[in-house]
Amino acid sequence: MIDADDADDFENLLRERLANPFLVLAVAPAAAIAEIERQGQRLLAELAAGLEGARRYATPFGPRERTPELVRSAIAELRDPARRLAHEWWARGLGPSSSVAA
């Protein structure tokens, strides 16, 4: 049996995990803040230019939509060291090696 509140909780948690700033910005968890800022600005410029490749980012659960708001939010999250620590911890497990092609 499924509970409505549960389903909402799980959807929110899933969205939170897959909107990990390191996945959104496609940078390694160990990346320096300068590299993160540079990558963020590059992605914002590409999104503004309407480049198709910038509109999606890879996750272990398939590509997700990348928006300028998501990119800005990701950069802001990673500027805070405490938040970065948590995102980094999850990103190490959700990086490109976390799923193996069948």
Binding site: M1, D3, P60, L85, G93
Partner: protein, 489 residues
């Protein structure tokens, strides 16, 4: 409060529901008699015309079989099956609501009292705005309106509510009405809704409730798509027998071809996840998609998490926190562990199957305790809505029933983990009187309109009372269920 009727509010005693029900029964009886007379007149005329015209045309040349076919089988089909076919296969899909209802009125498979519910169901199928949202006071709660509510919930992506309604319909008490037409056409609409969005677990779950050729085909297609065995011959046979052949042909052809060329494998599209983080998110995704999760899978995931969140791993995270310049790094690292445990407990609450009694690893006890606390807290929170004094005519019996479904789901889940002693305490300290009073109030305020739901609720209460050993409540609620059932007939 030990008997049915103990909670009748004083303002409702002046005009007891039983007297209103008696009026309704009298009017319904007159309508049923008129309906029967019209049937007899119409079908007698049809039968006479068939007999006269075919008899004159054939002039005694027909054999026994053809005579039997013309004189018995075809008229029987016309009388019994044709009206419902016309209603649900022809008129309803084309938006001809009045014709569909007229055909239902003509069908001997449809009870007169079911017509308002069928009308509500057809409105939901046709996506008419405002259907069920205002809960017309005369609309009873029964299998048709329950299916209408489930379909509406499914289309509005309230999958949890749809699942709860389907689960309740699958576990109706003995004697509760679930008309054959509702099982065929009502459940079919629900199955198609899940099928159209390619939600195979929901398609399979809904299909278990119904009957009919299309439901059987869609259930088999859903199972085949999920990797279960489906012989091409079965697929083609069911496809040939089912309606909507043109729509389902591409999918059936693809599945039959796959069945011939390669053995089915379990969910070939899903990649295996290498890290525990990815496995964790995969399980969150499964929960968000309303797929079934097993308790043992959650416990296995918790065991896999252990080396990643034990003290050594947290020390490494603390070291990284120092490197990043995070203040209070130890607490931050600990918060990550708590976050993982909270999410695992949430998954465990959502999981199917009993939780293991003997903890297999150190986290298991923590997880089981958190899951139990969450479940008890949820029951207590839901119980706040069950106030008998607030049950009035404005609370539609369907809404009252849906409210009860939420508590039923929480309670039955708690039965798998919280334990009999804790649930017995919970039962005696609040659940019994509050829920009992609520069910009595719903039954008395709405009378026959809520009888079907009241039957299910009282029967469930009696079962729960039996589980916790409350024999007084068992006897009283069995009697209440019996009275409600007789009202629902």
């Amino acid at each position: 409060m030990t008997t049915f009727g103990a909670t009748i509010p004083s303002q409702l005693r002046a005009r007891a529901p039983q007297s209103r029900d008696a009026d309704l029964v009298g009017r319904a009886g007159a309508r049923a008699a008129v309906r029967l007379l019209i049937w007899l007149a119409l079908w007698a005329t049809v039968l006479r015309n068939i007999g006269a015209s075919v008899g004159t045309w054939a002039a005694g040349s027909l054999g026994v079989c053809v005579t039997f076919l013309v004189a018995v089988v075809i008229p029987m089909w016309l009388f019994v099956v044709f009206p419902s076919w016309l209603a649900f296969r022809f008129a309803a899909p084309r938006g001809m609501r009045r014709l569909a209802l007229a055909a239902c009125w003509m069908s001997p498979l449809v009870r007169l009292r079911d017509l308002p519910s069928i009308a509500a169901f057809l409105d939901v199928v046709a996506d008419r705005p405002g259907t069920l949202s205002g809960f017309p006071t005369q609309l009873p709660v029964d299998a048709w309106t329950a299916l209408a509510a489930a379909l509406q919930a499914d289309r509005r992506r309230s999958f949890a509510l749809a699942a709860r309604i389907v689960d309740a319909l699958a576990h109706l008490p003995t004697g509760a009405r679930f008309p054959w037409l509702a099982r065929v056409h009502g459940v079919e609409a629900l199955v198609i809704s899940a099928f159209e969005r390619r939600d195979w677990p929901a398609t399979t779950r809904y299909a278990r409730l119904g009957q009919g050729r299309l439901i059987a085909l869609l259930a088999l297609v859903a199972r085949a798509t999920r990797g279960e065995e489906a012989p091409p011959s079965s697929l083609w046979t069911r496809w040939l027998a089912a309606p909507l052949r043109r729509t389902t042909l591409p999918l059936v052809r693809a599945l039959a071809w796959r069945g011939r060329t390669a053995p089915a494998s379990a969910d070939p599209a899903a990649p295996p996840h290498a890290t525990v983080h990815a496995r964790h998110v995969a399980m969150l995704e499964a929960a968000a998609r309303h797929e079934e999760i097993r308790s043992e899978d959650v416990m296995a995931l918790a065991a896999a998490w252990q080396p990643a969140i034990d003290d050594a791993a947290l020390a490494a995270t603390h070291a990284r926190a120092l490197g990043l310049g995070v203040r209070d790094g130890a607490a931050r690292a600990q918060a990550l562990r708590e976050q993982v445990l909270d999410e695992l407990a949430l998954l465990l609450v959502r999981a199917q199957g009993e939780q293991p009694r003997a903890p297999a690893h150190p986290f298991a006890e923590t997880l089981a305790r958190r899951a139990r606390e969450t479940e008890v807290a949820r029951i207590k929170a839901l119980l706040a809505a069950f106030d008998a004094d607030r049950v009035g005519p404005s609370l539609h019996p369907l809404a009252a029933w849906e409210r009860w479904l939420a508590l039923r789901a929480a309670w039955e889940r708690a039965e798998q983990s919280v334990g009999r002693a804790a649930l017995a305490t919970l039962w005696r300290t609040g659940v019994r009187d509050r829920l009992w009073g609520y069910c009595c109030a719903v039954s008395h305020v709405h009378g026959a309109h809520a009888a079907w739901a009241a039957h299910a609720m009282f029967d469930w209460l009696a079962d729960r009372a039996e589980y916790v050993g409350d024999m007084v409540a068992v006897l009283a609620n069995r009697e209440n269920a019996r009275i409600a059932q007789s009202l629902a007939r």
